[in-house]
């Protein structure tokens, strides 16, 4: 489903056709570190199948917002709901269970350097004590998705930066999570590798329809995600027709700890806010 121009379209409903509950709700969330406010009064929602691209200058709190989403950090005030559960009020032990349904791709991959690629990808499955055959099959399948099934027995240190990032994506998707959080998935990578990673992120969005929050400070990546879709027949991303954007991809922008934008691609492009204009120019 695509939209022309700047009209905001309700995110894809579930199979039943009924409007679905948001996957993530931030309700007036604030957090400070050592008395220094990092995020203030943040409110937004992520609907099923929706990809929210979080933009903002470096150090504005984008990664903090992601860590709040999976409960790695707790807000000082406000409430955060994930899959309808208020995670800001949950006990740490209950959060471990919930996080099983959330995939996270960290900034530098954060692969376990003493485990092989197979064991990294299959980490969650091993924790669930699945049979070894099933673990190997699912890890291989996830690695095939990122086109790295030949690296099964390698260690992370034997892989390039881009390959490590792809393994991190495989690790995030191996349990078929309902929500994926990408923390600067292309940060520090060359343009060609970045495009490969963005294509994978898009593939996950358009093939599996997983809800996601993508943190990036690279506008080019953000607009590629908004203006392309993944074609399963060609097995690659293709541009949408002119003036069309992906309706399930919307934007959030942080500036000085506050959410200064929450809207569609067209609304972002046509925004008159001086900061946003300067940021996207």
């Amino acid at each position: 489903m695509t939209q022309v121009g700047g009209n905001r379209v309700t995110p894809a409903p579930q199979a039943s056709g009924a409007p679905s509950e948001p996957v993530v709700i931030f309700d007036d969330v604030s957090i400070a570190f050592e008395q220094k406010p990092v995020l203030e009064n943040i409110s937004f929602q992520v609907h099923p199948g929706e990809m929210r691209i979080l933009l903002g200058p470096a150090g504005v709190g984008k990664s903090v917002l992601l860590k709040l989403t999976n409960g790695l950090l707790r807000p000082d005030s406000g409430r955060i709901f994930v899959f309808g559960k208020e995670i800001s009020a949950m006990h740490e032990q209950d959060l471990f269970e919930l996080r099983g349904a959330i995939g996270t791709v960290f900034q530098e991959g954060a692969l376990f350097d003493s485990l092989t690629v197979r064991d990294n990808v299959a980490y969650r499955l091993s924790e669930e004590h699945l049979p070894e055959d099933e673990i190997t099959a699912r890890a291989t399948e996830a690695l095939r998705f990122v086109e790295l099934e030949q690296t099964l027995d390698k260690f992370p240190s034997e892989l390039s930066g881009g390959m490590r990032r792809r393994v991190a994506i495989a690790r995030a998707i191996v349990t078929n999570p309902k929500l994926i959080l990408y923390d600067s998935p292309t940060g520090g990578l060359d343009p060609i590798t970045s495009t490969t990673i963005i294509e994978l992120v898009m593939k996950q969005r358009d093939v599996s329809h997983t809800s996601s929050i993508v943190v990036t400070h690279r506008l080019q990546d953000a607009f590629v995600l908004a203006m392309h879709h993944f074609d399963r027949a060609q097995n690659k991303m293709v541009p949408l027709p002119p003036h069309q954007t992906d309706t399930n991809t919307t934007f959030l922008m942080l500036h000085q700890g506050r959410l200064v934008f929450d809207g569609t691609t067209a609304e972002l492009i046509h925004s008159t806010d001086p900061f946003i204009r300067e940021y996207i120019s």
């Binding site: 099983g100 960290f106 900034q107 954060a110 376990f112 969650r124 924790e127």
Partner: protein
Amino acid sequence: MALATIDAAAKRGVSAVQEYALLSSRAVSDIFRRPFYTSDVFMQADIIGVGSLPIVILTGFFLGGVLALQSASTLNQFGAEAFTGQLVSFSMIKEIGPVVTALMVSGRNASGMASELGSMIVTEQIDAMRALGTDPLKKLVMPRILATVVMLFFLVILSDAVGILGGGFVSVSMLGQDATQYFNTSYQSLEFPDILQGLVKPIFFGFIIATIGCFYGMKTRGGTQGVGRSTTQAVVWSSILIIVTDFMISRTLIGIFGR
């Protein structure tokens, strides 16, 4: 200004003690909560226990030997050289065995734990573990505590035995003493409170080594420099705490049993 600095330092100190107490208590309570990471416990027991065998045997043997050498020359002045075995076994079992073994294991493993966990913190691997639904305290800290406590207990027994053997070797081969007399006095003079003291200490020391190593590892900040700092602090503080705790246990048990 100076007052503010003292105030801030005091707050940091109290906060560190509080964090340490929380980490230790949570990790201990994790022993009784599922899932139980059996394979991780065995792996750590292998690294900590089997890996420390060579240094424990070597130090134990030579400590026993030097104890025999030193005590024999002093006892000789009173014509009591026959009590060399008793002195060596007393010293090894009650003090030298537990303390030196703990210090050796601390130097080897508290530093290892701090650097390993510290590296995992700075490369976001601990966050990744939490994000994957695993409690790092249960998966990483609990197995280290359990393995260190159990393995140090046996390492100390081994060190005591090797130390007494070392003392015997020196007494017989270098001081010309009778082997039967040495081992008889070593064995017969020992009583229950002596053995108890020697076996209670490694339990506390093992707990200190693992919790301090993990605590400094888990609170690492500031990249590779931070990892180095954590490693040093882990060894320094575990060594200090081992010696302070040794005094407190000795005082308490001597108070109770009178020896």
